[in-house]
Symmetry: C2
Subunit: 204 residues, 2 copies
Amino acid sequence: MEKDLTTEAKIKEAATRVFIAKGFNGCSSREIAKEAGMNVALVNYHFQSKGHLFEVVVATVMEEFVFSMIDVFKSDLPLISKTRIFIEKEYDFLSKHPDIPGFIINELGKKDKTFFERINFIDQIRETKIYDEVHAAQEKGEVRKMDMTSIMLLMMGNCHFPFMAKPMIQTIQCIDDKTYQNQLTLHKQYVTEMLVNYLFPTNK
Amino acid sequence: MEKDLTTEAKIKEAATRVFIAKGFNGCSSREIAKEAGMNVALVNYHFQSKGHLFEVVVATVMEEFVFSMIDVFKSDLPLISKTRIFIEKEYDFLSKHPDIPGFIINELGKKDKTFFERINFIDQIRETKIYDEVHAAQEKGEVRKMDMTSIMLLMMGNCHFPFMAKPMIQTIQCIDDKTYQNQLTLHKQYVTEMLVNYLFPTNK
DNA sequence: CAAAAATTTAAACACTTGTTTAAAATAATT
DNA sequence: AATTATTTTAAACAAGTGTTTAAATTTTTG
């Protein structure tokens, strides 16, 4: 699996796995070290503390998390296509990293705000000019007039929630992993249709 | 605030607050005892262990959580009204208990499945015959034909996510609590319209 | 190749964890 | 009022926590 990685990279990889699976408080430095196959002291030698290692991990995960979004925002496509591709890419990404949205929302809800602001993904999104583009389209009547917050909630909620709520829904519906995965493929289509219809009322 | 509660009730109340705010691993038995204003040993005297106390708390929270849902499902109203009232009641409940959905989804995602099954809210939902009602309406063409899992994901995702993602959205959008709360009131309207339009295509 | 720097190790540090014990205080019963 | 049962307390327990230390090892440098 992992080949010629540096010690630092190995620790970071292991920490990412463990932190995402168990949360900051749900694991110990020793568990991370063991997962990386090394001594406990190395964790604090390369990263100064468990807390700092966590910040490094979160920053990297967040970057990965917004990377595909940013990519779609920057593309030279009409908003309706961006919407479709955004959903498609989100479901792709989340199929590979289903625990990331829950991890981000949970762990960051408990940390202070300065921690959040140290990770500058806000500017990254704003730099894509997606806000201006949406606003312009709203003025032209192509996009339903609603606050950007609501648009984000609709898009992210319908993309992320199905992955976050997997254990709960699986229990309620008594379905296995395979069935749920298939259901998600269907759901992606529903979500796309629903959101496109609602956000672009003049379309079709 | 709390008046003439029994020791047991005081501990359970304090534990509920602390568990929801910090999670099972994010707090200690001593913190719960302190929050309840009592000795540590009392926690284990009245509840056998931290783990057992947690189970009791989760069971109670879950009950509260599904109570209003169940109530709507059982009511003698057309499905479209049930949908509207469901959303209304969910936003009401979540405004008062914004941390509960995140708590349930997070903490239960980490526990084993037997733990989940010990809380029998699944049967409670099934007993309302809501599944049969939806299925019948689908046969009559009143409700869009899609799996119950997707309907649940759409309903819950659009109700719960805005509360779960509050810290994240607030940071991205740079808005305070009051503004976010107002935004949620607006968002509820959008969600209602979007879901009703999508789930009941023949309507209007 | 020898000296210096960087890395890795095992052991210990002080502290917190969940839980238990046995004595003290309170309440209930006879 | 005396005895029993219940509740509460402070103290202790072993195990685990994040972190540090100082020695051993490896790598880099001159």
